[in-house]
């Protein structure tokens, strides 16, 4: 997986945004992720849904990037959710107790209905 395929897709839906990530998000990739998500958040989507179905690994720098983006979205009263993560990414969220902090859903549709 190359660094270029970290962000697989960015879509708009009902005033919100869906960012589909892929690959391994680690210390080598987290800055690129922050730059991309900052560009999305600058447009102030009412709801930001991050699809993690194709993310194979995420370390604390990736998790920290998601926290930074959440704080930005929360500052303008938007909503942010994570969806479709694999067991490895969920494990990382649980170890850091961020599973209790983020809204987590099974699918993008569920996240938009919440």
């Amino acid at each position: 997986m190359t660094s270029d395929s970290l962000v697989k897709d960015v879509q708009e839906r009902k005033g919100g945004a869906i960012v589909v990530l892929a690959g391994e998000i680690d210390y080598n990739q987290s800055h690129k992720l922050l730059v991309t998500l900052n560009e999305v958040v600058e447009k102030r989507p009412t709801r930001l849904v991050i699809d993690l179905a194709d993310v194979e690994h995420m370390d604390s720098s990736g998790l920290g990037t998601l926290v930074k983006i959440f704080q930005q979205v929360n500052a303008y009263k938007g909503k942010m959710a994570l969806v479709a993560m694999n067991d490895r990414v969920r494990n990382a969220l649980e170890i850091t107790r961020l599973d209790q902090f983020f809204a987590i859903h099974q699918t993008v549709d569920e996240a938009f209905e919440a």
Partner: protein, 155 residues
């Protein structure tokens, strides 16, 4: 990469990498393969891989302050179980900035903010974690994870 084994059945893999973050994935792949071979449950394999990843990122970020051309040595050593529990011992050695081992602590997770999660992850996942300043310079981190009994895994 070098591999060796002794008469007790202990097996070790040595990896020497430069402190370029692009190398993190290579070490993760080797650690995952070895942890699976040693019989760890999938969630423990994920945890071990994450802990090693965090430890290496800390060396690159803090020990070498982002320089990408410094040496890091990683030893993955299967604990044979004939004198104790089966497990995996991971030893990282660098020549970077030394830090008082007593100052290396995880932070309070109630304070939700970016950064500072790596040490918490390492200490949560691994059964034994020991930092040491090396006489010749640099730091050594020794981490051990034991294979859990099936009863422990399901409880």
């Amino acid at each position: 990469m070098t591999q060796e084994s002794d008469q007790s059945g202990s097996r070790a893999v040595d990896l020497s990498i430069l402190s370029d973050p692009k190398n993190l994935g290579v070490v993760r792949a080797a650690a995952e393969k070895m942890a699976r071979q040693e019989g760890f449950a999938p969630s423990d394999v994920d945890g071990i891989v994450l802990a090693i990843d965090e430890a290496l990122a800390n060396v690159m970020k803090h020990g070498y302050e982002g320089r990408k051309d410094r040496d890091i040595h990683i030893r993955l050593e299967a604990l044979p179980g004939n004198q104790g529990r089966l497990g995996l011992q991971v030893t990282l050695r660098d020549r970077g900035r030394q830090v008082d081992p007593t100052c290396i602590k995880g932070r309070d997770l109630k304070d939700v903010r970016p950064g500072g999660l790596g040490v918490h992850i390492i200490q949560t996942v691994m059964d034994h974690v020991e930092y040491r300043c090396l006489e010749e310079g640099g730091m050594q981190l020794r981490m051990v994870k034991y294979v859990r009994d099936p009863a422990e895994t399901t409880s």
